[in-house]
C-alpha cells in the first residue's frame, strides 16, 4: 500500500512538472508573440494565474465542490448503516481519521470523495445510492472512494486539474488579445522580421494544441485513478464482487445526476453525465467503461493488487498493467495479496473478512426470498427518513404505531394523526 502511494507521488510530481512546463511555455511564447521581449511578462501572468487557482482550490476546493454538488453532512443518528460502513472501511484502509460523510438529495446512484489529504477527507453519496445498494455493495463503493483518499488521488487530480484550468484560461485569454486587441502590435511584429513571425506561428499553434494535450493527459490520468481505486477497493474489502455488482446497479440506473457538471464529473465513482457511444468515448472520457471495470473485478483470482493487475491485463488485452510496478514487486504485497497460497500465513484474512462482511446478507438469505424485497423497502424507508430529518422535518411517534413526519413550518401547531385521529402538538426541534 505504501509503495503504491509513493509510486503515485513520484508519478504525480513528474506530471505536474510536465504540465507546468507546458503552461509556462505557453505563457512565455504568448507574451513574446504579443509584444517582442514580453516573454517574461507572459511567464509572470501564467505563474500568477496558477498561484491564485492553486491557493483557492487547496483551501476552498472541497467546500466549493460540496456546495456545487448540493451535499449535506450527516451524523450517525441520520443513517447508522452508512456511517458504520464508512468506519469499517476506514479501519480496513488504515486511514488515520474517519472521513466526514455527506449525502446528496439525488435519485441517481453515485458517490465521490474529496479533500486534500486523509485528515480532511470527505465521502459523499447520493440518496439513490443508499436506496439501491445492499450492505456489501455499499462497502465496495465506500472502499473505492477511500481508495482515492488513501492513494492521494484527490490532491493529485486537483493539482493536475488546476494546471489544465490555467492552460485553458491562458490560451483563451491569449486568443482574445490576439484577435481583438492585437492590431497595433501585429504591424510592429511584422517589421521585426522572420524571427518574430515564427514566434507568432508557434504561439498560435500552442494556443490551439496545449489545451487539447493537457486535457488528454488529464483524462488518461483520471481513468487510471479509477482502475487503481477499484484495485484498492478489492484489497480493502477482500470481496471484489461487492463493488462489481454495485457498479452494475449504478450503471443500470440511467438517470443523469442533475448537479454534476463537466468540471465535477471526474470525481464520481461512475461518470454521472452518462457515456456517449464507445470508440471516441474511450479517450475523451473521465472514466473507463463500466462494463470493463466490472469484467476485471469479476475475473480476479484473489483480492490483492497483483490479482487486479493480472485481471486487468487479461480483460483489456493491454501489455502494461495498471498498478505501478514497485507496488507489485514489493515482497510483502505479493504475499499479502495471495494469503491462501502462502503456507507461511495460516491466518487467511480472506476467509475472515468475507463471512463476517456478508453475515447480514447470509442471514437475510436464510430467512426467505421475500426478505430481499423487504430489505429494499427498509433501505428506501431509512433513506427517506434521513432526508426528512436533514430537511428539519419533525418526527412524532403516535400511539397507534404510525410516525407523523411534519414540515418544520408546523412547529407549535396541533395536528391530528391520519390513522387514528389522536391530536398531537408539534414540538419544535423534536426528533
Amino acid at each position: 500500500m505504501w509503495e503504491l502511494i509513493r509510486a503515485n507521488q513520484r508519478r504525480a510530481a513528474t506530471l505536474v512538472v510536465a504540465m507546468a512546463a507546458l503552461l509556462f511555455l505557453l505563457g512565455y511564447v504568448l507574451g513574446d508573440a504579443l509584444a517582442p521581449g514580453g516573454g517574461v511578462t507572459g511567464l509572470l501572468v501564467a505563474f500568477l494565474l496558477w498561484v491564485v487557482l492553486s491557493l483557492v482550490s487547496y483551501f476552498q476546493g472541497d467546500s466549493i465542490f460540496l456546495a456545487l454538488a448540493g451535499a449535506r453532512k450527516i451524523t450517525k443518528a441520520d443513517h447508522p448503516q452508512l456511517i458504520n460502513v464508512v468506519e469499517e472501511m476506514t479501519i480496513a484502509a488504515g486511514l488515520p481519521k474517519v472521513p466526514d460523510v455527506y449525502v446528496m438529495d439525488e435519485a441517481a446512484p453515485n458517490a465521490f470523495a474529496t479533500g486534500r489529504d486523509p485528515q480532511h477527507a470527505v465521502v459523499a453519496v447520493t440518496a439513490g445510492l443508499l436506496e439501491t445498494l445492499e450492505r456489501s455493495e455499499l462497502q465496495g463503493v465506500i472502499a473505492h472512494e477511500l481508495g482515492h483518499v488513501k492513494n492521494r488521488d484527490v490532491l493529485y487530480m486537483m493539482m493536475v486539474g488546476i494546471m489544465l484550468g490555467a492552460i485553458v484560461l491562458l490560451a483563451d485569454l491569449g486568443s482574445r488579445v490576439f484577435f481583438f486587441g492585437g492590431g497595433r502590435r501585429r504591424t510592429s511584429s511584422r517589421s521585426d522580421g522572420q524571427g518574430q513571425l515564427l514566434i507568432v506561428i508557434v504561439a498560435v499553434a500552442l494556443m490551439i494544441l496545449a489545451p487539447i494535450v493537457a486535457q488528454l493527459i488529464y483524462l488518461a490520468l483520471s481513468r487510471r485513478r479509477e482502475y487503481l481505486a477499484d484495485a484498492s477497493s478489492a484489497l480493502f474489502t477482500r470481496y471484489p464482487e461487492g463493488l462489481a455488482s454495485a457498479l452494475e446497479k449504478i450503471s443500470r440506473a440511467s438517470t443523469p445526476l442533475a448537479t454534476a457538471t463537466r468540471a465535477t464529473a471526474p470525481m464520481y465513482i461512475v461518470n454521472p453525465l452518462g457515456v456517449s457511444a464507445r470508440g471516441l468515448a474511450d479517450i475523451t472520457s473521465t472514466h473507463p467503461p463500466t462494463s470493463e471495470r466490472i469484467r476485471i473485478l469479476r475475473s480476479m483470482a484473489g483480492a490483492g493488487l497483483a490479482r487486479y493487475d493480472d485481471a486487468f491485463r487479461t480483460v483489456t488485452g493491454k501489455k502494461g498493467g495498471v498498478v505501478p510496478r514497485s507496488a507489485l514487486t514489493a515482497p510483502e504485497q505479493a504475499a499479502a495479496t495471495a494469503p491462501a497460497a502462502s503456507p507461511a500465513m495460516p491466518a487467511v484474512p480472506v476467509a475472515a473478512a468475507v463471512p463476517a462482511a456478508t453475515l447480514a446478507q447470509a442471514q437475510a438469505a436464510a430467512a426467505a426470498p421475500v426478505s430481499a424485497a423487504a430489505g429494499r423497502l427498509e433501505r428506501v424507508r431509512q433513506t427517506t427518513d434521513m432526508l426528512w430529518r436533514l430537511n428539519q422535518f419533525i418526527f412524532i411517534p403516535c400511539a397507534c404505531g404510525t410516525t407523523l413526519k411534519v414540515p418544520p413550518a408546523y412547529a407549535g401547531q396541533e395536528i391530528a394523526c391520519p390513522q387514528c385521529g389522536a391530536r398531537h402538538t408539534v414540538q419544535p426541534g423534536a426528533a
Binding site: 480496513a92 491466518a347 484474512p349 475472515a352 463476517a356 453475515l359
Partner: protein
C-alpha cells in the same frame, strides 16, 4: 587523502543505510502495535454492546435460555482473558460463534425482528463484527510486513542486531472450526 575521503563517504553511506533499515523496522513494529489497539477498541465495544442485546432479546426469547446463557458466558470469558494474542483470539472467536447462533435463532421470532431497538443493536453488532475482522485483516498485514522485514536479508541482520521479535498473527478460528460444516438432512 583520496582514500580517506572515500572511506569517510562509505562510512556515512553505511550508517545512513543502517539507520534507514532500523527506522523501517521500528515503523513496522509501531504499525503492528497501533493496529492491535484498533482491534482492542472494537473488541471492547462488542463487550459493551452484548449486555444490551441480551436485555432486549430476553423478553422475546424465553425459550432460548441456553443460547442467551452461552452468549453471556462467552462474553464473560472474553472480558476476563488476559495474556497472549492466541488466548484472546480463541476467546473472542468463541464469542463470535455464540453471537452468530443467537442471530440465527432470532430469525424465528418475527416480533423480535420488528423491534427497532433489536434492529439497531443488530446493525451495531454486525458492524462491530466487520470492524473487528477488518482491523484483524490490517493487523495481519502489518504483522506480515514486520515479519518479512525481520526474516529477509539484509534487514534481517539489523533486526538480529537490535533484537526485533516476530509477532504472531491473529488467527481466525481453531483448525477444526475452519472445516466446511456438515449439512445433514
Amino acid at each position: 587523502m583520496i582514500f580517506g575521503l572515500v572511506l569517510l563517504v562509505l562510512i556515512v553511506v553505511a550508517v545512513a543505510w543502517v539507520m534507514g533499515m532500523y527506522n523501517g523496522l521500528v515503523g513496522s513494529r509501531n504499525e503492528v502495535k497501533n493496529s492491535w489497539s484498533q482491534i482492542d477498541v472494537q473488541l471492547k465495544r462488542r463487550h459493551d454492546l452484548i449486555p444490551n442485546l441480551v436485555e432486549t432479546v430476553k423478553g422475546y426469547m424465553g425459550h432460548e435460555r441456553g443460547t442467551l446463557e452461552a452468549v453471556t458466558k462467552a462474553r464473560q470469558q472474553a472480558v476476563e482473558v488476559t495474556g497472549s494474542v492466541e488466548d484472546r483470539a480463541k476467546a473472542e472467536n468463541a464469542l463470535s460463534q455464540t453471537l452468530r447462533s443467537l442471530f440465527a435463532v432470532a430469525e424465528a421470532y418475527p416480533d423480535l425482528k420488528a423491534n427497532q431497538n433489536f434492529l439497531a443493536l443488530q446493525e451495531e453488532l454486525t458492524s462491530t463484527e466487520n470492524k473487528i475482522s477488518f482491523a484483524r485483516q490490517y493487523y495481519n498485514d502489518a504483522v506480515l510486513r514486520l515479519n518479512n522485514r525481520i526474516q529477509m536479508f539484509p534487514s534481517s541482520v539489523i533486526a538480529g542486531m537490535f533484537n526485533f521479535q516476530q509477532e504472531k498473527f491473529f488467527e481466525v478460528e481453531a483448525a477444526e472450526d475452519r472445516q466446511v460444516p456438515q449439512v445433514k438432512f
